[in-house]
Symmetry: C2
Subunit: 240 residues, 2 copies
């Protein structure tokens, strides 16, 4: 259950649990939260503490309190992203979201760090292009990603991405008709810094982090990316 003296405020623990319950469909029959008094008893805390948790969810736009009636559930979504050889941000979500878009936050040319160089199969210090992008579903930010491409081969990919709003299309303009996912690492951290702002998270929220390498059909690495997903909005599905 919820833990006291843990360094995590009770209202935040309760807000996190309720968010999961909502996304799990636990309240789908009524589309409402139980009353504050009921929740307070269920969690073994004061009603004011529950109110703090509900206020946090209301800030996120997940619920809306109506005086005299109750607290209505406004939104419930946890997108499922399939991970396979053909993983792309904008595919495999059929029917889960009406509108998917992706925007460029920042781009830069950098010398490849050892980790990036190894992933891309180039010499450390070689120029590569960094793209910081934001993935949005139905107007709600879903993921924040940092991608690296070898600069020699993909000059101008930033502009192409900005024009098309898609990595796949941008690569297509640069002669990559098809590409496949070589590997994906998945971990989880607490959100912080720019991601909190970009993804409109409450501080302390969880991020699912994927570190992936894409290659062209010859097996040559073309993209190294690190994506941060809001953990309460997505889950991954690995078909093996």
């Amino acid at each position: 259950m919820i833990e006291r003296r843990s360094g995590v405020a009770l209202w935040r623990q309760i807000a996190d649990r309720m968010r999961l319950a909502i996304n799990n469909g636990d309240y789908d029959d009524t589309a409402m939260m139980p009353s504050e008094a009921t929740l307070a008893e269920k969690f073994g805390v004061n009603r004011h503490t529950v109110r703090s948790a509900l206020a946090a969810l209301a800030d996120e736009g997940m619920v809306r309190a109506v005086q005299g009636v109750g607290t209505l559930i406004e939104r419930r979504d946890r997108l499922t992203f399939p991970i396979s050889r053909r993983t792309r941000f904008s595919q495999g979500l059929g029917g889960q979201a009406r509108e998917l878009q992706s925007t460029l936050i920042e781009q830069a040319i950098e010398r490849a760090s050892p980790v990036i160089a190894t992933a891309l199969g180039i010499a450390a210090g070689t120029d590569c292009i960094r793209l910081d992008t934001l993935g949005i579903a139905d107007g709600k930010p879903i993921s924040s990603a940092t991608s690296y491409f070898p600069a020699a081969r993909f000059a101008g990919i930033g502009a192409a991405y900005q024009r098309t709003g898609s990595i796949t299309k941008a690569l297509g303009e640069l002669g990559v008709d098809d590409y496949v996912r070589r590997s994906t690492e998945i971990s989880a951290i607490h959100a912080e810094g720019a991601d909190v702002r970009l993804l409109k998270l409450s501080p302390g929220a969880i991020l699912l982090v994927t570190t992936a390498i894409n290659t062209d059909t010859d097996g040559t690495p073309i993209q190294f990316s690190r994506s941060r997903f809001a953990a309460d909005r997505v889950k991954f599905f690995v078909e093996t």
Copy 2:
């Protein structure tokens, strides 16, 4: 950086950040933390707050303070679990851990819920066997898992598991020579309840959750499992 009024105490945010930095190898050159005064300035907080964070890490056995010297880093580990058709808890960790074991926490016979029934391809309400297990690497708890098997086919799997300490071997005793991973879902939540105790986590820590279906070589589902991994001790690697 760290956020105030977030419902997560500063000392906990700082402890989480330092744990990640340690596991990331940021202090490998000296194997020591910077001094408390340095950390306090870096994070923009009082030295006492940093001390609370260091005390939390010391409780986890990750660092050890020595008066007059500094705070030594005792441990740094994040295991990489490969996820593929041949995923097994005790394989693919070659060299990452000296000793891997797995113990039975609890077993029970339950009627299959709709979700479990669908996953196992049986009728809802059919009897299935639930095994709660704990995975341990080098004496440190890594994952807590709940697995379901069709009771009709796998009677006695609890005893076999207890005897062998391995799902693979237990299935082998019951006539399953080989099995493959059909699918894996990955999500993340805050740790709570029994998992906090079993995995010796500080409350509020992150869990990586995998929900998986294993089948025999004929494609018949034999196991549905939900594993919770301490997110600061593991990451997943998906080769596609």
